[in-house]
């Protein structure tokens, strides 16, 4: 990202702002503290990787900042507004309009074409149906699958399916894209293609991307890594800044 553009985005409030976030799971008598005292801000247009071993709580963070779950303590401001002030219906609308999800197991609808899968979020958007096809085609073009729009998703390779998922996540032009282990079910070559698409979306279209992963080489493509262990933030470092700094020096 160019420094001028970065400065422009920095004048707006961070898209995601969590303070002392806490999540306790209760299972009858047992109480498990999954997250403890999580604090960070994510500025618009940043590519963040949340890393950690299995059970560290990184998925829990994703679920909370992705508005799929509610924290038990602390505050969460999305786009400058307190999330706890929203009703369930309003949260569903935010998920639809402002967030995009990519999952490890793709989660596409079976027995459905690529085009229909990508259009799915529009069903809950209130946008006029006459615009749907064009919006879907545009998103599919961005992931390079325009030749496959009428294919059944079951006929596609893993990498192609994940690209359909990315197109679906893009269709409402979201402010944040959440990717939960997007390359986990893919071979290294397909995984590479997916990460390239995500990087391109971040660099060219300024989408904020939050990547959950346990793979080091995947996380290093982000510009910031937040490392979680046992429900607490162990480290929170910018990477790209360092890399860009190197290029600048040269």
């Amino acid at each position: 990202m160019k420094p001028e553009q970065a400065n422009q985005l920095k004048t707006l409030p961070p898209i995601i702002s969590v303070k002392n976030l806490e999540k306790v799971f209760e299972d009858g008598e047992t109480k498990t503290a999954a997250l403890c005292d999580i604090t960070f801000d994510i500025p618009r247009g940043q590519f963040v990787a949340v890393m950690g071993p299995s059970g560290s709580g990184k998925s829990t963070i994703l679920h909370i900042i992705g508005l799929l779950d509610k924290q038990t303590g602390g505050s969460y401001l999305f786009d400058g507004k307190k999330v706890s002030d929203y009703s369930d219906e309003e949260i569903a609308h935010i998920r639809n309009e402002k967030l995009g999800f990519i999952f490890q197991s793709f989660n596409l609808l079976s027995r459905t074409t690529v085009l229909e899968n990508v259009k799915l979020p529009l069903l809950y958007s209130g946008i006029k149906e006459s615009l749907w096809d064009q919006m879907a085609l545009k998103a599919i073009e961005q992931v390079g699958l325009s030749q496959r729009i009428n294919y059944m998703t079951s006929k596609l390779s893993g990498g192609e399916r994940q690209r359909v998922a990315i197109a679906r996540a893009l269709i409402n032009n979201p402010q944040v894209i959440f990717a939960d282990e997007p390359t986990g079910n893919l071979d290294s070559k397909s995984g590479q293609v997916i990460m390239e698409i995500l990087q391109k979306l971040n660099a060219e279209k300024k989408h904020t991307i939050i990547l959950i992963t346990h793979e080091t080489y995947t996380s290093e493509l982000a510009e910031r890594i937040i490392y979680i262990r046992d429900g607490k933030i162990e480290s929170d470092k910018l990477i790209r800044a360092r890399r860009e700094a190197n290029n600048f020096v040269k």
Binding site: E89, A92, H93, N107, L109, S110, Y124, S125, K128, E129
Partner: protein, 430 residues
């Protein structure tokens, strides 16, 4: 062509943030089509239940029209007097045992001062058993009556003549026979002038009725009519009548005439308490009403039985919806992650259930109508009566309403469960 972001933003702001009906229907239909074979099997119970109800109602209606049509054949001015108290039900046979109607009643009724609205009457005496000619025997419906019968039934002999008052006075041994009786006993040879045997006594055939078929409760083709005096005194050796048929002057006075008859007979029999009447008076309307009541009762009974299959069908649907919801747990989680509200999910699954049952209802109605139509065709051939098929429109509309309701009722709980699935757990579901 690029879509401007501004245009999309405007569209979002202007439209409601919910699924419209058309999209909801389309989503539900896709959901059903995904497992078409299962969908079809699921609604089988509804189809059969509704079809059964349609068949019952259609055939019940046909039967009722047919019966009422025949009762109508008696004439709207006819009043029938039978001995014994009013029958308490279809199997109340006390009328047969009573001998309360006698000649004194005929004289009293014929008195214009007593029953001014009476035009004419005839007593009837049943003669059980068969009639024979030479070696041929036939189980005809033999009874004693008068020439008035031909007026009431609106029938004149095709061959020969009816007997008159003279023959009645003389206890003449003459008979009028129906067309089937003639065919059975005489074949193609002459009937008029020949002697047939009724209860071992010779009766001369003086008239043959034309083919007419069923008129009210009598099949005219099967009758043998003799003078009632002969039947009463010479053959049966009794003093009373089995019934008296009265023709009123006009329809408007029918109720009053019937009442006059009751009062006259009470006086003639010395009865002061109306509850102790030893006779009963029926107009055609009365007969039609009791026929209606019986057919309606039967129809409702059968409908109730068919309704049970609807409940069973509904339970089947609820079961399948639960399975479907569990199978599609991940899909539900995904839709919620993409922005579906609990209401959107509830609507989707409820709509699937309602579409299933409504489709089942429509198929059931078509199937039921088809079966009823074929059934009336077959019945017309087999029973040789005039069955007509009318499409039971009200039953069909109720059928669609009921099947839709079954979908709503039995689909609600599974849809509710679907709507309240936690999206995270749903997405993790294997």
């Amino acid at each position: 062509m690029r879509i401007s972001t501004r245009k999309i933003a405007k569209s979002i702001l202007n439209s409601k943030l919910t699924m419209n009906t058309y999209q909801a229907l389309k989503t539900a239909l896709l959901g059903l089509r995904a497992n078409a074979a299962r969908s079809i099997l699921t609604i089988l119970g509804i189809v059969i239940g509704i079809a059964a109800i349609i068949v019952v109602v259609a055939i019940g209606d046909s039967a009722q029209s047919m019966i009422l049509g025949q009762i109508g054949g008696l004439g709207s001015k006819t009043i029938i007097i039978e001995p014994g108290r009013e029958p308490q039900g279809p199997s109340d046979m006390t009328a047969i045992l009573s001998d309360s109607l006698k000649e004194r009643d005929i004289i009293a009724l014929k008195n214009k001062a007593n029953v001014p609205g009476l035009k004419d009457l005839t007593p009837n005496v049943i003669v059980p058993g068969s009639v024979s000619y030479q070696s041929q025997t036939y189980r005809a419906i033999t009874f004693g009556s008068s020439a008035f019968l031909s007026k009431v039934l609106n029938i004149q002999p095709a061959e020969g003549v009816f007997f008159g008052d003279e023959e009645i006075k003389q206890h003449a041994r003459v008979a009028i026979i129906g067309s089937k009786v003639r065919e059975k006993l005489f074949g193609l040879s002459t009937a008029v002038g020949e002697n047939i045997k009724i209860k071992d006594k010779n009766f001369r055939v003086i008239g043959v009725l034309p083919p007419k078929g069923q008129v009210s409760i009598i099949n005219v083709d099967d009758v043998v009519v003799i003078p009632y005096t002969t039947a009463q005194k010479d053959i049966m050796g009794i003093n009373h009548y089995n019934s008296i048929m009265v023709e009123a002057n006009n329809v408007e006075d029918l109720a009053r005439t019937a009442n006059d008859i009751k009062l006259t007979l009470r006086e003639s029999h010395g009865i002061t308490d109306p509850t102790k009447d030893d006779f009963h008076v029926m107009t055609q309307a009365d007969i039609a009403n009791s026929a209606k009541t019986i057919t309606n009762l039967l129809t409702w009974l059968l409908i109730s039985v068919a309704a049970i299959s609807l409940v069973v069908g509904g339970i089947g649907i609820m079961n399948i919806m639960f399975v479907s919801v569990t199978e599609r747990t991940r899909e539900i989680g995904l839709r919620k992650a993409l922005g579906a509200t609990d209401n959107n999910i509830l609507t989707q699954f409820l709509l699937e259930a309602v579409l299933l049952t409504a489709a089942g209802g429509i198929i059931g109605i078509m199937l039921g109508a088809g079966i009823s139509y074929i059934a009336t065709l077959i019945l017309s051939q087999v029973v040789a009566m005039n069955w007509t098929f009318t499409f039971p429109l009200s039953a069909a509309l109720i059928g669609i309403g009921v099947s839709t309701l079954v979908g709503l009722v039995f689909g609600l709980y599974p849809a509710y469960k679907a709507a309240h699935k936690n999206p995270i757990e749903a997405l993790r579901y294997e």
